[in-house]
């Protein structure tokens, strides 16, 4: 149509390029937005001392329950006069630590177990999968509470409870994809070449199942942030006066009739982190699908 006119052809070309860029952006948007959200949260929690001059546990008896937008306290203060913004920034360190600490350990352990189970097969696989099924029968949250109850409420014991129970999903995902990969030509070829099992598992199968694991890890990270906060809220995780977000919501619950901001803002912080991880997971899944 525009072939006769060079300037129109150029316009077409430019339009096509813009459209392509738009498509790429649309596909990458969740990844970018999620990444930016999380990076922002990490930066502001790590750089908390540069952003606020208050100590998160510093009591100010003259300024209790100051509403948001009070000069000097943009998100207000709690019943002890502690600055809410400072507590959220410092508390974020704990909640992010829970997200990364709980997720990374279970990811590594669960993936290793699933890879081994699927690769070896036979009675080893059958036994491990029965154990996995067994853990799935329990309401996860109830089992975590029960383990924390026996060990005693603390952040460390919360980690132990999550580590003991959360590897199962990773094991199940990795095992399923390992079984599939075992039938693929590249694995058969690697074995035909006489490579050792360990090399086939780690160098040939693992890279191909890892993307599925990482996508699930993002969902799991959301779950772990919510779980850590829920345990803090119930008094079974981080303990007061810790500014962990769940603990802050629990403290604020006593003041919902008079001071709504105590419980509201830490909850919004949790939502931001959760949405960040969710978008990151969605974005990674999109890219994986596009690659197929």
């Amino acid at each position: 149509m525009s072939a006769g006119n060079p300037s129109l052809a150029l316009l077409d070309l430019l339009q096509a390029r813009v459209q392509r860029r738009n498509n790429v952006f649309r596909r990458r948007a969740p990844l970018v937005i999620g990444g930016v959200l999380l990076a922002t949260v990490i930066v502001v929690t790590v750089a908390a001392p540069l952003i606020t001059s208050y100590n998160p546990n510093e009591i100010d008896p003259l300024n209790p329950l100051a509403p948001p937008l009070t000069p000097g306290h943009i998100l207000g203060t709690d019943n002890f006069g502690r600055d809410i913004l400072s507590r959220i920034l410092y508390g974020g360190r704990i909640d992010l630590l829970i997200a990364f600490g709980a997720t990374s350990v279970t990811l590594v352990v669960g993936t290793a177990i699933g890879l081994f189970s699927g690769f070896v097969g036979g009675w080893v696989d059958a036994t491990i999968m029965r154990i996995v099924d067994l853990f799935f029968a329990f309401p996860f949250f109830v089992l975590v509470i029960a383990i924390v109850a026996m060990l005693g409420p603390s952040i460390l014991n919360m980690f132990i409870a999550i580590w003991l129970t959360s590897w199962i999903t990773y094991a199940r995902i990795t095992r399923g994809h390992t079984l599939g990969a075992k039938q693929q030509e590249y694995v058969l070829a690697a074995r035909a070449l006489g490579f050792r099992s360990r090399r086939v598992m780690l160098r040939h199968i693992l890279p191909n199942v890892l993307s599925f694991v990482v996508i699930f890890a993002m969902v799991d990270a959301v779950g772990n942030v919510l779980l850590g906060a829920a345990l803090g809220f119930l008094g079974l995780g981080a303990q007061p006066p810790s500014p962990e977000w769940g603990v802050m919501i629990s403290d604020g619950q006593n003041y919902i009739f008079s001071a709504w901001w105590l419980a509201t803002f830490p909850g919004i912080a949790i939502v931001i982190v959760g949405v960040g991880f969710s978008l990151l997971g969605d974005g990674l899944a999109d890219i994986l699908r596009a690659g197929d």
Partner: protein, 313 residues
Amino acid sequence: MGRYSFLGQRILQTIPVLLGITIITFFLLRLIPGDPARQILGQHYTPKAGAELRQQLGLDEPLWDQYGLFMRRLAHGDLGDSINYQQPARTVIFQRLPPTLFLVAYAAILAALISIPVGVLSALRKDGVFDQVARVSFLIAFAMPSFWLGIIFILIFAVHLHLFPVNGYGDGFTEHLRYLFLPAFTISLAFSTILVRTLRASTLAVLSTDYVDTARIKGISRGAVLRRHVLRNSIISLVVVFGINLAFLISGTVLIENVFGIPGIGRLLVDSVSTRDYTVVQGTTLVLAFFVVMVNVLTDVVHAALDPRVSAG
């Protein structure tokens, strides 16, 4: 394979799972650091009471005999005694079960009422405005701590608008419905984030099948195709997802009972942690896990009844 042998096989399959559950809950008490008898008795500890409890729990016996003792007691419905309530743990737990069951059922019904229309409409107009809005809303809802959302609902609907009570359980069926609406709605929103995603995917799959095309070509109206094929399949997949995620639903209920002060098993569990009532914690875990396994069998049977392809293997 006939329908009855499917049922029989499904029940046989649960036996090793139930046994495994007893093993895990048995080992729970052994996680207690130090002397369990001293920890369990707490301030009630005296050397004499400690020795009695050690004998009662068989703590001096080999582990295998201890488990045998645990199982013999369980066979008689004995979950041990609650130190805090000075009653058998079973009595304490079963007293607290009705509010929890009511709440679980209420939340499940609300979740179905929310997720069937949203999931099906999203799929019918894939990538349309409604679909986009629903996906973003549920993305945010998925990241919301349900205990926090519950507090926000109390703030808006109970404190400011006076539409619902702030907390409690009420007396009689209609009061339960009113008192438990906010907690059930909170749980159902969290549960719906999972249901909607699956329903949307399964409805999209049904819409692209040949039998839906065939039905349309035969001249059957769009509405009739929706009712007869799309909705029926959606409900079947809802039953399956419900079964798979029942454990998640129970977890949500345990948490939310503590926000709204509902005297159910979740409150009991958390209270028992703070009073170090270990036998009640152990018993609650066991009862809830058994419940999940039983309802899973039930959902499989319902699934087989709704969808003949299942029991045909």
